[in-house]
Symmetry: C2
Subunit: 241 residues, 2 copies
């Protein structure tokens, strides 16, 4: 059983997360300068004093918002890019899946960050740019590894990385768990992973989840050929098989 | 030769376009409320009086910014969706190409719109939402037509439409014509169209530009099969051909 201390830690983290998401929504809606901590406390139906139990102040709140998701994304992509135990298709599948889930679960934070990039003060502005540069670098390395392995088409790695970031980041602008209840974040992640992977993959790698051996590619081709021949009535001479 | 009146009309449009893009950049950076027309005039190195030759006021400027690109996108997607002379692959290729070009050429406008959606006043807020709904509807119809025709995989049309919007809209956040001089908007559009189309297409439609007949699909499959058999040394019994 979890100790009282552990439970309190979990509770504090859940509350902190809720504070961050609500604060991000308010900042994005009204602007950072026009929002004070009393507004954040009101939106959370808690007192300003109680709010100070979780956060140090408005500037610290913004710093936490800027660092949280961007650092997480950068670290996760760098770790995947460097992982020698995974093939590039698995790396990319994990990268896209993780990014979509984070954006579906924290949409206000992503919208705030990308809407207010131009108005961030130093040193936050530099730190934010640096985290985004690390993310781009990690994602580009995964693309390049896939191209070298013949799994991905010979795409320009930065353009492909930005195409995938766009697809994933956009989730924060359209997906609402409460409104789109039929589709869970997991379902959205699976659908976007499939579109992204097919968009990158060389033709012989039709899906990330398929086997990648030459043998399985051959088997798929034979199946398709047989299907098309039946469907069209175009018959091959007997092969004696 | 163009008449003086035509030249004046062209010049006025070019200047208007430059005013809109600069104003959008300022609004996005400082916020709409904190930016006045003198700031816009200063950024353009023109007088406030000269600026009034082109625009009616700050609110009209914002209305023009909100309507311009969103209405253009909505109308273009609705027109493509309804065009009975084009097949769905051509429709989607044109839709993606046009969206990427518009975003590469007017990045500040797109960033402003999508960063400030929550702070738009009525009736602009409703008009903006309505234009986005029409865009989603047009794009979803093109996806659905492609799925029915067997050209696209059986994707959920709204999710696929948002994936493509994200890929195209994101261009406004990363592409800078001055910084990325090696890659023209046309090159970016071509690269993203290819990723998007491959992401949607059923396996037998490997590329939008390929023929779509069953015969050409068969021909491609036979080629691949022959290539793989040679590459792997897996030989089929002689077919007598």
């Amino acid at each position: 059983m979890a100790s009282a201390k552990q439970q309190s830690g979990v509770r504090k983290q859940l509350v902190s997360n809720e504070i961050l998401e609500r604060a991000a929504a308010l900042f994005a809606e009204r602007g950072f300068a026009a929002t004070n901590l009393q507004d954040v406390a009101d939106a959370l139906d808690m007192s300003r004093t109680a709010l100070y139990h979780y956060i140090g102040g408005k500037d610290e709140l913004l710093a936490t918002l800027v660092h949280g998701l961007t650092d997480d994304t950068a670290e996760s992509l760098e770790r995947l890019a460097a992982d020698q135990s995974l093939d590039p298709l698995t790396k990319m599948t994990k990268a896209l899946h993780g990014m979509v889930l984070a954006r579906a679960n924290n949409p206000a934070r992503i919208r705030l960050l990308l809407g207010s990039e131009g108005s961030l003060k130093e040193p936050l502005a530099t730190e934010f740019r640096e985290a985004r540069r690390r993310s781009l670098d990690g994602m580009s390395r995964i693309v390049e590894e896939g191209v070298r392995a013949g799994a991905f088409r010979p795409v320009e790695s930065h353009v492909a990385a930005f195409a995938l970031f766009g697809m994933c980041n956009w989730v924060a602008w359209w997906y609402r768990p409460d409104r789109d209840g039929r589709q869970t974040p997991e379902m959205i992640a699976d659908a976007l992973v499939e579109i992204g992977m097919k968009g990158l993959c060389a033709d012989s790698h039709r899906a990330a989840s398929d086997g990648n051996s030459v043998q399985s590619a051959l088997a798929r081709l034979r199946e398709d050929l047989a299907f098309l021949e039946r469907a069209t009535g175009v018959l091959q001479p007997s092969t004696g098989e």
